[in-house]
């Protein structure tokens, strides 16, 4: 009797499992009823707690209203960016890519592009749509004739400085050279003001921003170019200056993460930080009135032009290949909407994101953007040249080692030349 009951239970369990499997198999992607809208799932890390997240929701809602009954975009939020990136890679590896997703582009990691799982936008890239982007951005994201990523975010990473704290130290303008920069740091420190926010945890973002500015000022915009050795006198000098810069940062800089470092600036504890426009949302209105934005300082006999900037990498949008042609076209239609003048305007002004797509803002719109974003747009727009941040262009092994290499240098485990040599080895 006991054995019979067990068998019945086992059979029931198997039936449930098989029912689950068959239910899934019956649901074909093309089985959409004629009156049902096409559903597109968009993965994003931009939660509605952030300006960009709220702006994206607004944009999607507008699109859904305009295509009511035909297409429905839904946003699934995954706020943890590193986990989100890992998830997307797993989905692609399992040959089940998301409908739409964004990622940090790295020319040294083309696993997504080479997966064969991504939708090729090039057949849809007509002249009108192409004209929305800079040719070099399209070119940078085209591989083997396929455009599997649409250029979207490409923000400048600029110097924020607190004019009020600068004035207290008797500094009137932002330094134009690194020598002037360190002199300004010394003045600030003398007044009891901590000059700059730095960090070494996670991707060591604020510190690697400084390293990129220092390296590019010396060796120019090709300093991190693939195939070029990083072990140059310019890079060693940059590492030496980075080490010196840490003496002008907070006590917790070694070990601090992005939030700690940026909060120091946002709360007025430090006078400078190097970051993207997403930081603006963390600065209160009073502080924003006192914020100046600047491009990078130069070095004597360096190879950079005055006003050069560092940018974050492309954060483009990609889509998974679709079995349904209708859905593929709906995705393309949505991407065109996102990169349209209206879409870009909304994301720039409401979400404070600087995008790759063309956009000209009126004086009134710039004013509406606020004092910091308008400066940001101005400095980014007038930069004669730019370089992508070091953490976005090295090979994955070197990227993951870089924060610990900086910490090793700061703990005197090796000198700046040793740090650069190790970084170069990891990048081979």
């Amino acid at each position: 009797m006991v054995i019979k009951r067990s068998r019945v239970l086992l059979l029931a369990l198997l039936t449930v499992l098989l029912a689950g499997c068959s239910a899934n198999l019956q649901k074909e992607p093309n089985s959409k009823q004629a009156d049902e809208p096409i559903e597109i799932k968009m993965l994003s890390s931009w939660s509605t707690d952030t300006e960009r997240g709220r702006a994206l929701h607004l944009l999607v809602n507008k699109y859904n209203e305009a295509r009511a009954g035909k297409v429905k975009i839904s946003i699934d939020i995954n706020p943890d960016w590193p986990n989100y990136q890992e998830k997307v890679k797993t989905m692609i590896a399992a040959k089940q890519p998301p409908d739409l997703f964004n990622y940090n582009f790295n020319p040294n990691d083309l696993s997504r592009q080479n997966s064969g799982q991504l939708l090729d936008f090039s057949p849809y890239m007509d002249e009108q749509w192409r004209s929305r982007f800079k040719p070099e951005d399209i070119e940078a994201l085209t591989f083997n004739g396929e455009l599997t990523s649409i250029p979207y975010e490409k923000a400048g990473v600029l110097f924020y400085y607190n004019k009020k704290l600068f004035a207290e130290a008797g500094i009137q303008t932002f330094p134009q050279t690194w020598d002037e920069f360190f002199a300004a740091c010394a003045k600030l420190k003398k007044k009891g003001i901590i000059p700059i926010s730095l960090m070494t945890a996670d991707d060591s973002w604020h510190s690697t921003n400084a390293l990129t500015y220092l390296a590019a000022a010396a060796d120019g915009m090709d300093v991190f170019k693939a195939g070029v050795s990083l072990d140059t006198p310019g890079m060693v000098a940059a590492a030496e200056k980075l080490k010196q810069l840490f003496s002008y940062s907070t006590d917790d800089a070694i070990g601090a993460n992005y939030s700690i470092s940026s909060n120091h600036f946002a709360l007025g504890n430090t006078a400078m930080i190097i970051d993207g426009p997403w930081l603006i949302g963390s600065l209160d209105d009073e502080l924003q009135k006192n914020i100046g934005i600047s491009a990078g300082p130069l070095v004597h006999q360096g190879h950079a032009q005055k006003g050069f900037i560092v940018t974050d990498t492309y954060t483009p949008w990609s889509a998974g290949k679709q079995a349904s042609k209708e859905k593929e076209q709906a995705i393309v239609d949505f991407m065109k909407y996102m990169t349209s003048d209206d879409g870009v305007r909304l994301m720039t002004l409401e979400g404070r994101i600087l995008l790759s797509a063309e956009l000209s803002l009126s004086e009134e719109e710039l004013k509406k953007a606020g004092p910091v974003l308008s400066q940001f747009i101005d400095v980014s727009g007038s930069a004669p040249e730019s370089i992508i941040q070091i953490s976005r262009v090295l090979k994955p092994a070197a990227i993951s080692k870089l924060p610990s290499l900086i910490e090793g240098m700061m703990f005197e485990q090796y000198d700046p030349a040793g740090m650069v040599r190790r970084m170069n080895e990891a990048n081979q």
Partner: protein
Amino acid sequence: MRWIKELFLYLVSFIMLAPFVWLIIASFKTNRELFAEPFGLPENWMFDNYIAVMTRHPVTTYFLNSVIVSVVSTLLALLLATLASYIFTYTFRWRSYWQLLLVGGILVPTNAFMVPYYFIVKWIGFYDSLFGIALVYAGISLPLSVLIIKNYMNTIPPELSEAAFIDGAGVHRTFTRIILPLSCPGVVTASIFLMVTAWNELMYANLLTQSEGTRTLQVAIRFFLTTFQANYPQAFAAMILAIVPSIVIYALLSEKIIGGLTAGAVK
């Protein structure tokens, strides 16, 4: 000598409790207060962070999801682990190899299974469902639970099973009426480990769910610490809410846990 022991105990207690106390205090501060005076007391003890956590996101739903996932995964793992452990009390061909195969799963890093788990869960139609995560947690925890329960079952004198057989009980009846009730402390120990692991797990919860309706509390905490904005006091408030159930479970059942772990140690 006694005072050294006491001093040592107080010191260890302080080391263990200090971070938790700091977390509680910090959850009552504003972001500004936290960065201005990380170790100071809040100017006003306010519940704004807890209110924000509860109102800005459906935390009650996430909490309930975590409870469901923890309970279901624990029940599933226990069902399989007790049966597997029981069969290993018998002698059969290749027994030690089967045992090694099952328990050896402890040594395999769980990240290695990300792609296959994602593929299988999606294939059987349980992606973005609480049952899907529970199923994976049960699978991941199976080796550890088998190890704990089997070790406990090994302490039960075989004469009891033999007596049951003489009295006419079959394999199943001996399991349900004799071995399982006697293994209760081991099962409780395993279940607590399973519950706490499932409650705190982030990687698979993140991978196998997507919509708001299936989000667990651990995933939701990340909303307060995003790449673009971080409000630590609110995140700490969310963490406190997430930690409390684990502490309560452990406090209520600590004797069982220790009993289960040390069972057989002085046989």
